[in-house]
Amino acid sequence: MIDILRSEWTKIRSVRSTMWTLVSALVLMVVLGAVICLAVANNPAGNVPVQGDEGLGLSMMALPFASLAMATLGVLVISSEYRTGMIRTSLQAVPQRLTLLFGKVIVFTVVTLVFSLVTVFAAFFVGQAMLATVGLDTSIGGPEVLRALFGNALMLTASGLFGLALGSLIRHTPGAMVAAISLILVLPSLTSVLPGEWGRVVARYFTTNAGLQVTKTVVGEGALGPWPGFGVYLVWIAVVLVAGAFLLRRRDA
C-alpha cells in the first residue's frame, strides 16, 4: 500500500492542474473573503449590525466556489487518467483496482485536508483583521468558532472527495463536473422550493444543505446538528464512491 501512496503522491504533485485548482481555491477563499469583510468594515452603517458568528461567515463567504475548485481537482485526479488512457498504465502497474482507488482517495484526502486547513485559517485571520478595524470581528476563542473553522476545512476536503467519487463513477471530465456543480451548488438551493413536509426533509438532508451545518457556530431552526449534518454529506459521497468502485471493478478499462 505504501508503494501505491508514493506513486499517487508523485502523480498528484506532477501535474499543473493540481497547483491551479488549489491556488484558485486559496485565492477565492482569502481574497473574496477579505474583499467582503473590507466592504462591510467600511460601510457598517449600511448593514444590519454584525452579530454572533456573522463575522466568521463573512470571511468564509467564498466557500461554495472554493468547494467547486476542490471538486474540480477531485474529478481530474481520476477523469484525466481515463481521458489520456493513463488508467490502463496505472491498472497494469496495480491490477488490484480497489487498492488503486483507495490509494488515490487517501493521498487526495491528505493533500486537500492540509491545504484546506491552511486556506480556511488564512481566510479567517485576514477577514477578521479587516472587520477588527470597526470592532465587528469574531474571536477565534468564541463559542464553537474553532469547530466551525475546522468544519469549513472539512467541507472543502469533502467536496473534493465528492468530485473524485463522481469522477470515478462518470469517468468523463465534463460530465463529472456538471454532476459536481449540480450536487454541490445548484440542486441544494433548489430543494428549498420543494413543497410540504416531505420537501423540507429532502432539503434538510440534501448534500451541502446538510454538510454546511458544520461550518456554522449556531444551528439553524429545524436544521441537522453540525456533526450529524456533515455525516449525512459524507454518506452522499460514500454512496457515489462505492458505486464508482463497484463499476471500476466490473468494467473493462
Binding site: 506513486s7 508523485t10 506532477s14 490502463r88 498504465t89 502497474a93 491490477p95
Partner: protein, 296 residues
C-alpha cells in the same frame, strides 16, 4: 520457465465475438509474433492478458497465475499497448517515477530506463510535446522498468520512421536473446518476417496458426518456378501449368528439374530457372483468406 498461456479465451462485446476460443502458449527466449488483420482481436487479447479487459470465457495466465493476482506485476510483465496513453502534462521522469514507485522499484530505475531508450536528455520535458517515436521509446522504458521476463508490445512500429522501426526491431531481438518472452502484435507480415521466430496467427478472433515462421511459410503453399527465356512462348506451350507474364513464366506444380528436362529435350535455351519460396506475406494472405471464408 516464464510464459503466457491462454486457454479457450473468449471475449464478446454484445453480439460480436472479438475473440473466441483462443488457446496458445508464448514461450521464452524467442520473439513470438501475434499476427492478424486489423480487428482480428489482437489488442483485445493483449488487454485480457494484462487483466484490463475481463474475458467472457476461458482464461489466460502469466507464469501460471492470472495477472490480477500478481503483487508487483511490472517485475514480471512489461507492456506497451498505446504509446500516447499517458498524461501529457507530466515530465517523462515523473511519469516513470510514479509507475516505478507503484511496484516498489527505486527511483534510480526511472533514470536507468530513460538512459536505455535514449531519452535522458528530455527527462524533464513534458510528455505532451513528444513525437510519436519519442512516446514509443517512453512506452518501452515504462515496460522495462521492472526488468520483467515477459514483454508485450502492441503494434510497436505503427507510425514510426525507418530509424525507429530498426531500433525497436533490434531491441526486441536483443530481449529475446537474453532469454525473455517477447510477444509482439502486428498486422504487417513483412515486419514479422524480420523479427519473429514463432507466429500466432488469428483472424476474426480465432486461431489460424501457431507455428514457427518457416513452417508457416512451408505449409501454406508450394511455391512456384520462374522461367526466363528468349523463347518464352514456345516453352509456355510445353508446360500445362504455366502463366505467361511479360518477361517470364510462372509455373505451378512442377519442379525445376522437370521443366529443365522438357526444355532441353525440345532444344529451347533457358536464361533463368528458379524455385521461388512463397513469402510470408503470401502465406498469410492465403491462410487468413481461408479462415475468413470458413467463418463467414
Amino acid at each position: 520457465m516464464t510464459s503466457i498461456k491462454a486457454m479457450n479465451l473468449s471475449k464478446a462485446y454484445g453480439q460480436t465475438m472479438a475473440v473466441s476460443g483462443l488457446s496458445f502458449t508464448v514461450e521464452p527466449g524467442q520473439v513470438t509474433g501475434f499476427l492478424g488483420p486489423n480487428g482480428a482481436g489482437k489488442s483485445t487479447t493483449m488487454r485480457m492478458i494484462l487483466g484490463l479487459d475481463h474475458p467472457t470465457g476461458g482464461s489466460v495466465v502469466v507464469d501460471g497465475v492470472p495477472y490480477q493476482q500478481l503483487r508487483h506485476p511490472l517485475r514480471k510483465v512489461g507492456a506497451l499497448l498505446d504509446a500516447k496513453a499517458v498524461h501529457g502534462g507530466r515530465s517523462a521522469r515523473n511519469h516513470l517515477l510514479a509507475i516505478a514507485q507503484s511496484n516498489g522499484l527505486p527511483a534510480s530505475r526511472a533514470d536507468e530506463v530513460l538512459e536505455l531508450v535514449g531519452l535522458r536528455e528530455v527527462a524533464k520535458r513534458r510528455i505532451g510535446g513528444f513525437s510519436l517515436g519519442m512516446s514509443q521509446r517512453l512506452g518501452i522504458a515504462a515496460a522495462l522498468l521492472g526488468d520483467p521476463e515477459i514483454l508485450l508490445f502492441d503494434e510497436p512500429v505503427n507510425g514510426l520512421d525507418p530509424d525507429g522501426i530498426l531500433w525497436i526491431r533490434t531491441f526486441m531481438r536483443k530481449l529475446a536473446a537474453e532469454g525473455k518472452t517477447v510477444f509482439v502484435s502486428s498486422h504487417l507480415m513483412s515486419e514479422m518476417a524480420q523479427t519473429a521466430d514463432h507466429l500466432i496467427v488469428i483472424g476474426k478472433g480465432r486461431l489460424i496458426a501457431d507455428t514457427s515462421v518457416s513452417e508457416f511459410i512451408g505449409r501454406s503453399s508450394q511455391g512456384f518456378v520462374r522461367v526466363r527465356s528468349p523463347r518464352l512462348a514456345e516453352i509456355a506451350a510445353l508446360l500445362p501449368g504455366a502463366e505467361l507474364h511479360h518477361d517470364h513464366l510462372r509455373v505451378n506444380g512442377m519442379r525445376p528439374l522437370e521443366i529443365g528436362t522438357l526444355t532441353t529435350r525440345a532444344g529451347l535455351e533457358l536464361e533463368e530457372l528458379t524455385f521461388v519460396q512463397p513469402t510470408l506475406e503470401a502465406a498469410y494472405m492465403e491462410l487468413t483468406k481461408d479462415s475468413l471464408e470458413f467463418s463467414s
